[in-house]
């Protein structure tokens, strides 16, 4: 049971990193990317590649993944952000589909459908992180660090520029904001940080294949952000806890046949999303933010 809880906690923290980094562009900059799983995958495959081929440790393997993810996101952001939001969604979808093909076909690096096995454990400062408890600490530390970085960014002038662009791009241009550069920077930062989740994931499971990095993953991460609350620091974390606990919780209900859990889960997701949009359009955590600013308004 203990091992099960630790395992779930590690997966939650990895998914929370994805949700928090997606929220950085979705919530604060209004950029709807459905290619987040691609950067998750790039982080995972790159870290694995460097760990298996060159014996890289956790930090250098992760750094390599972040660098490559940043580079690829630049290729997406530079042309796509010059046009309006809808085109970015389309471009990110295209890149996500392309990436799945590459992940599947580039067998010498990704292992194809079968994936890569026997990924060595993460080495950090000379120690191999083999205990799940220790790995949980590592992934929580990464999550904490990433939340701190994003917190610093959104509270800076950069964060205010992002929100200004989200709220009105034309006005942002008119007040001297170089919108294209600001949006591109945001996408690059978000993608590089998402690659950290990929590296953790690969080292934790010691096995990866393309199924973890498909469009469904992108959409699930987006659901975490929206359910938890966009443009809030902790909302996406709450969203990822809920979405990962839901199937786990359902499997404990004794009167549910195991084979039906999948479809019941979908019904609950759908129902929850509809209720959320009606009663808490700002997300579960977003509610508080709205309230506090309203109070300030009435004062």
């Amino acid at each position: 049971m203990w091992a099960y809880i630790i395992n779930l906690a590690v997966l939650i923290s990895i998914n929370a990193i994805l949700a928090v980094t997606l929220n950085f562009i979705l919530g604060y900059a209004g950029i709807f990317s459905i290619a987040h799983a691609l950067f998750f995958g790039v982080g995972a495959y790159t870290a694995t590649f460097f760990a298996m081929k060159f014996g890289a440790g956790f930090l250098s393997a992760t750094a390599a993944g972040m660098a490559l993810a940043a580079l690829i996101s630049l290729a997406l952001a530079l042309p796509a952000l010059r046009v309006r939001g809808e085109y970015f969604v389309a471009a990110s979808l295209g890149l996500q589909m392309l990436a799945v093909t590459v992940f599947t076909e580039w067998k010498s690096v990704t292992g194809g459908i079968g994936g890569l096995t026997n990924i060595p454990p993460a080495r950090l400062f000379g120690f191999a992180v083999t205990q799940p408890e220790h790995f949980l600490l590592l992934s929580l530390a990464c999550l904490g660090l990433i939340i701190l970085v994003i917190r610093a960014l959104v509270r800076s002038s950069f964060g205010r520029s992002l929100k200004a662009i989200r709220d009105d791009e034309t006005a942002a241009w008119a007040y001297g904001k170089n919108v294209a550069v600001i949006k591109t920077t945001a996408v690059v930062v978000s993608s590089a940080l998402a690659a950290v989740a990929g590296s953790l994931y690969a080292f934790y499971l010691s096995f990866i294949n393309v199924e973890s990095f498909v469009l469904d993953t992108s959409i699930q991460v987006m659901a975490m952000v929206i359910i938890g609350g966009t443009a809030t620091l902790l909302g996406p974390v709450i969203g990822s806890v809920l979405i990962l606990l839901l199937p786990a919780g359902l499997s404990y209900l004794p009167y549910l046949p195991v084979t039906e859990i999948g479809s019941i889960q979908q019904i609950i997701y759908g129902g929850a999303m509809v209720l959320l949009m009606i009663y808490r359009p700002g997300g579960l955590w977003g509610f508080q933010d709205t309230r506090s600013s309203r109070k300030g308004g009435a004062a």
Binding site: R166, W173, Y175, K177, T185
Partner: protein, 252 residues
Amino acid sequence: MSQGGEVLLEASEVAKTFGGLKAVDDVSLSLKSGIITTLVGPNGAGKTTLFNLMTGHLPPDRGQVRWLGKSIVGLPHWKIARLGIGRSFQDLKLFANMTVAENIETVTERGAWLWQPGGRAAQKARRDKVEATLAATGLGDKRNARAVDLAYAERKFLSLARIMASGARLWLLDEPASGLDPGSYQSFLSLLRRQVREGVTICIIEHNLDIVQGISDRIAFLDQGRLLAEGDPKTILSDPALAAIYFGERAV
């Protein structure tokens, strides 16, 4: 009334066509420093399009736009903004989900970089500017309210606060007073007057002739994309031919 100082912004023979419609048709207009120039004319006269051409939101089909004598045609509009040309929008375009203070703070910040240059001194200067702007526009006690939660008149004042805090030398205001109740618009106009005394130059699109009369140092009259007349308010407003056009009786 003052006739103004040096020419800040000069449009010469600018033209813009949308499909077959000549929205702006060879208009030449100079905006001189230290005065309020008003653009008047019926709907569709090309006033907002002229603003868009002056600020680089639209490239002119032909003609020149010069800022302090230098051509700014072809510059991206965020660069033109940084030269000191600020504008407001008819539909305000506030940063709706940001607080009043954030709306103002963000326009005082320059650049796309993650940190602002200038260290603590510059940071304090920006903070002082935000406070001064909040005080001047009477929005001090709304500082933590989101722009979207403001009342209509407060939103108008916020759009003015934003342009004020941006440090722009030339303000292009697109119907800033429309829809204000008489009390609000009196304080709105005196705010504009005070800014002009402090060195700001304003060009304003306005429909209400009472306001036009009360505030203008010069008036430019546009109709169907052409500049029909330009001069001091008395001459323009007493011209019966222009009045006929303005009130919809098209001159034959």
